[in-house]
Amino acid sequence: MEKAFKDETIDLDVQALIDNKRKKKSISGKIEKLVPAFLLLCASVSVLTTAGILFTLLRESITFFSSTSIFDFYTGTQWSPWSGHFGVLPLITGTLLITLIAAIVAVPLGLMSAIFLSEYASNRARKIIKPTLEVLAGIPTVVYGFFALTFVTPLLKSFLPGLGVFNALSAGIVVGIMIIPMIASLSEDAMNSVPNNLREGALALGATKLEVAFKVVLPAAFSGIMASIVLAISRAIGETMIVVIAAGASPALTFDPTRSIQTLTAFIVQGATGDTTFGSTIYYSIYAVGATLFIFTLLMNMLSQYISRKFREEY
């Protein structure tokens, strides 16, 4: 049996087999041509979605600005839509305040964690710490919100007796905690991809590990680190649930972190969940606020691209 099998295969010609296969290829050739079109379709889903969102935002915002002047909207200092005041500045300062507090918390902590993970941690420590950090990123924001309201605020109150139940400080700190893993993990990736021979070059000159981390690795990974920070800050700007729960809903033109504020996103929630009538000015104001938020994140993105292009150290 085995011998017969061998005899059969012995005069097989591989080239003949390939030629045979090639003749049958007409169908697979068509698939070959169709696949890129299909892939393009998949890729265009997100592009088309973005375009759709932009279109809706613009259309509804234009309706809003036909009844309220755009100048009043962006310079007005009072936001009380239910009594007809549409000055968006208090919401903008609220958003900026939360973002600023979050950045103050998250940028140093995230960067230091990244430096530890990439330059100092043993492989074993890294294998434990990095996934743990990433779990932090997977916690639902509503949980963070209650953490801020029921743990961080009472804790802060023991230092700052004047602190309100709803305040920007607690919400900002917790938003910061939420974005630490993003900065730490992405910055660590950027620092890890800095080639080892650059570290060796500096160490061989008698630089200490710390000097290598701050004067070689950090600059070389700068554009990746910047990208992670901007991504995290965009996330803080857009963060909704934590601020809705912990920062209250009182739009105030203030940079006092102990007071209750409202952010752009928190108003959108309030407007969308309340008994807002479809077609009312308040309904359209949601879109105007949304468009403002969109401009913010767009500016952040452009800023990050500018910074990383300007300071890029290519290796």
């Binding site: 060796e200 070059g201 061989a204 004067k215």
Partner: protein, 282 residues
């Protein structure tokens, strides 16, 4: 092959704990000064022993070449001299290395101090992704030199010593990555010279370079030995014969023969050296 070395192999110990009480071995009978005195050096990567009982005295202001087939431990040995080998976390050593009479594994001797005295040039050019100026100024800056005027002078002098000043003097602020491989390697040499070390370790510095760049680096080595002691690992036996004063032949982690270059290449005393240099293996 390992019988001789196994007898005097001392106990394994982690790096950084110096052996106390070992006497300083003076170079007897010779007038020349030694920069390094290596005594019974063993080295392990984890459980794999890479170096076996190395004894060697590296002379000052000479070019010492280290030759041997791939994987014979010559790069490991070189990196042990400035303790760069410790970048691999599982490394353990035993024995002693004395740099100018001081045990480099001693706790008292800081590894950064050692590396400011013993500079290194790597196999693959590894300039920092910074300007040419910042590359050369990096070392002095790390060690606290801040004055622009001083740095300017150091950069110019180092680039001149590395024989690349004329090629780059008009573009000191350009990124060093824009240079050719040979130029990058000489920038790396300039970077090592900028902190005025005593010894320069070179780990196959020309293996990634074209013949013309190689020639330039070789000429440079000849020039540099007036001021520095140079230890160079090379894959290229002709290169060792051309540029070195003394040559060490490594095989399977052992130092087989260490002698004047002329003698080692014309009249080697060990059969294995003869086989290697005559091209019978390796």
């Amino acid at each position: 092959m390992q019988t001789i070395t196994k007898n005097n192999q001392s106990a394994e110990r982690p790096l950084g704990t110096g052996v106390k009480g070992t006497s300083v071995i003076k170079s007897e009978g010779t007038m020349e000064q030694n920069v390094f005195e290596i005594n019974d050096l063993n080295l392990w990567y984890g459980n794999d022993q890479a170096l076996y009982g190395i004894d060697m005295k590296v002379p000052q202001n000479k070019v010492t070449a280290i030759i041997g087939p791939s994987g014979c431990g010559k790069s490991t040995y070189l990196k042990t001299l400035n303790r760069m080998v410790e970048m691999v976390p599982t490394v353990k050593t035993s024995g002693s290395i004395k740099y100018k009479g001081e045990d480099i594994f001693s706790n008292k001797y800081g590894v950064e101090d050692l590396r400011t005295k013993v500079g290194m040039v790597f196999q693959k050019p590894n300039p920092f992704p910074k300007s040419i100026y910042d590359n050369v100024a990096y070392g002095p800056r790390v060690h606290g030199v801040k004055k622009k005027a001083v740095l300017d002078q150091v950069v110019e002098k180092s680039l001149k010593d590395a024989a690349i000043w004329d090629e780059v003097k008009d573009r000191l602020n350009e990124n060093a990555f824009g240079l050719s491989g040979g130029q990058q390697q000489r920038i790396c040499i300039a970077r090592a010279l900028a902190i005025e070390p005593d010894v320069i370790l070179m780990d196959e510095p020309t293996s990634a370079l074209d013949p013309i760049s190689t020639l330039k680096v070789e000429e440079l080595v000849q020039e540099l030995k007036k001021k520095y002691s140079i230890i160079i690992v090379t894959h290229n036996m002709q290169q060792a014969a051309r540029i070195s004063d003394k040559t060490a032949f490594f095989l399977n982690g052992e130092l087989i023969e260490f002698d004047d270059t002329d003698k080692l290449f014309s009249n080697p005393s060990d059969k294995r050296t003869e086989d290697y240099i005559s091209g019978r293996f390796g």
